[in-house]
């Protein structure tokens, strides 16, 4: 038994098995291309083929989401919350998690799933202690942002 655990593979078998792993890995990454485009998600997330295939904003405009909060009961004076690291989320994790939750909530809003509730949990977690929250879509043209960073359109997409 102990001998089996401390077993090393022979060199010929090593080559055959490693080759098999490589072929499987490439097949898995190819499969991911199809499963991603079919909406089943990435089945083999180790070969990320499609990272930055095009520059971000290549269509000339870009859409982002932000949390807006208000401390008054009437919901006036909305304040934009920047994406930044929190005690439990790094900036990147905040960005990816928040975006995924918003997109799911927007897609599922008609079916009344708990996607919106999940998003609300996240929102209250990263920006605690506000009276009212909403999710705002911000749309901008990247080049215009260079001259004026506040030049973007806003649209409230989710209220709680």
């Amino acid at each position: 038994m102990v001998n089996n655990i401390f077993k090393q593979i022979g060199s010929g078998a090593s080559y055959t098995c490693t080759r098999f792993m490589l072929i499987t890995s490439i097949a898995g990454s190819l499969l991911s291309v199809f499963t991603l485009s079919s909406g089943w998600g990435e089945v083999y997330p180790f070969f990320s083929w499609k990272l930055f295939t095009q520059p971000l904003g290549n269509k000339g405009s870009y859409t982002e989401y932000r949390i807006y909060t208000s401390n008054t009961k009437e919901g006036a004076k909305w304040q934009r919350q920047e994406i930044k690291a929190t005690p439990t989320f790094t900036t990147d994790e905040y960005y990816y998690c928040f975006n995924a939750l918003v997109k799911t909530a927007l897609a599922d809003s008609a079916r009344g799933s708990n996607a919106k509730a999940n998003l609300f949990s996240f929102v209250r977690h990263v920006v605690p202690a506000a009276h009212a929250y909403k999710i705002v879509e911000e749309i901008y043209a990247p080049l215009e942002l260079l001259n004026n960073p506040t030049r973007y359109d806003t649209l409230t997409v989710i209220t709680f």
Binding site: G10, S14, M21, L51, Q54, K59, T88, A100, L101
Partner: protein, 352 residues
């Protein structure tokens, strides 16, 4: 006694093994040890990160696909996570101390690492952070490092190991070529990577999307050609990076290139792949330069034959390699020998 990969007895060439092969095997063995040291740090970091995950609202734990949902429906209990992390650490430490890779132990360790990584990819998105690190452990399973003298099969396994790592870069770059060409040939109004504003767009948005201050626009507006040329150079090098898997002289160069690539991405585009950088350094560092003397390996058989395909360039390249080692590594870039062969054929025709 366990032969240590750092002991010279283990790297002395067996029959039919060239010095390149024995140096490759030596470097690979050192790389595995370095990867195991990195794994100790990774496990520590992973556990600390898990403790942060515990404080997140459980509703935000959302798997992106059915497979992940099946293996981890909720964030695991601290005891379970601790036991698996401890097991991974034990397996790693055991193989580090023994300076060998055992198939069953490494398989178990890889599965533990994959499982430990799942929570990080379970908050609505797969970040791809750690993918190089995990792939390296997976591809290591069937390579018995530390045990044998290098033979041609083991060295082929090592080449396949590096192929597995480099293929991720090759494929990611290769994917960009048809998509950019498609945009150009269809005269698309979209901004692509060869558009003068391609890098600028990406930089503006990657900063803005995490509300980071972007103050480098002059760098992009004044030198658009620099970014276009950089894109072509980078994509070409990334596409051919897979050749470094089979050519030892190229390996440290491509390691350096990939580290540079990640560093530029961090500075210019805020794309962070820190674990990948450390993994690349561990795997591609030329350890033989530090730890081996020339007397430790058999000299390469000198290329004197003038048969088909043996060009003067190839002979000269081998001589330079023996003398200057990795300093002339870039002479092993793919295509150079083909060009030399063409050049020599033209020269022969002229003289005839």
């Amino acid at each position: 006694m366990t032969p240590s990969p750092l002991l010279h007895s283990n790297v002395k060439a067996g029959l039919g093994v060239t010095s390149k092969d024995s140096r490759s095997w030596f470097n690979f063995n050192c790389a595995v040890l370095a990867l195991r040291l990195l794994t100790c740090l990774w496990l520590y970091w992973c556990y600390q990160h898990y403790e942060l995950l515990l404080q997140r609202p459980p509703e935000t734990f959302i798997q992106v696909n059915a497979f992940l949902k099946a293996i981890m429906p909720v964030l695991p209990d601290p005891i379970v996570f601790g036991v698996i992390a401890g097991l991974a650490a034990l397996l790693n430490l055991l193989q580090l101390v023994k300076r060998r890779t055992y198939i069953l132990l490494q398989l178990a360790q890889s599965l533990c690492l994959l499982w430990l990584n799942v929570p990080q990819w379970s908050y609505g998105a797969i970040s791809h952070v750690n993918h190089t690190f995990l792939l390296a452990h997976l591809f290591l399973v069937f390579i018995p490092s530390g045990s044998s003298r290098p033979d041609k099969y083991l060295n082929k396994s090592v080449s396949l190991f590096y192929t597995g790592i480099l293929a991720t870069y090759t494929l990611a770059a290769f994917w960009k070529v048809p998509s950019v060409l498609y945009k150009i040939f269809t005269a698309s109004p979209d901004v692509h990577w060869l558009h003068p504003h391609g890098a600028l767009y990406n930089a503006i948005i990657s900063h803005r999307s995490i509300d980071a201050v972007f103050g480098m626009e002059k760098l992009y507006l004044s030198f658009p050609l620099f970014w276009q040329v950089s894109f072509v150079v980078m994509v070409s090098l990334q596409c051919i990076s897979i050749f470094a898997a089979f050519r030892l002289p190229l390996r440290p160069w491509f390691g350096l290139l990939l580290v540079l690539f990640h560093t530029v991405n961090i500075i210019a585009f805020k794309i962070y792949f820190a674990v990948a950088i450390f993994t690349i350094i561990c795997l591609f560092f030329p350890y033989d330069v530090l730890f081996l003397k020339k007397s430790d390996y058999q000299p390469e058989p000198t290329v004197n034959a003038s048969g088909n395909g043996i060009t003067n360039f190839k002979k000269r390249r081998e001589r330079l390699w023996q003398k200057y080692s990795y300093l002339v590594g870039l002479l092993y870039l793919p295509g150079l020998n083909t060009l030399a062969r063409l050049w020599e054929a033209i020269q022969r025709k002229r003289t005839h």
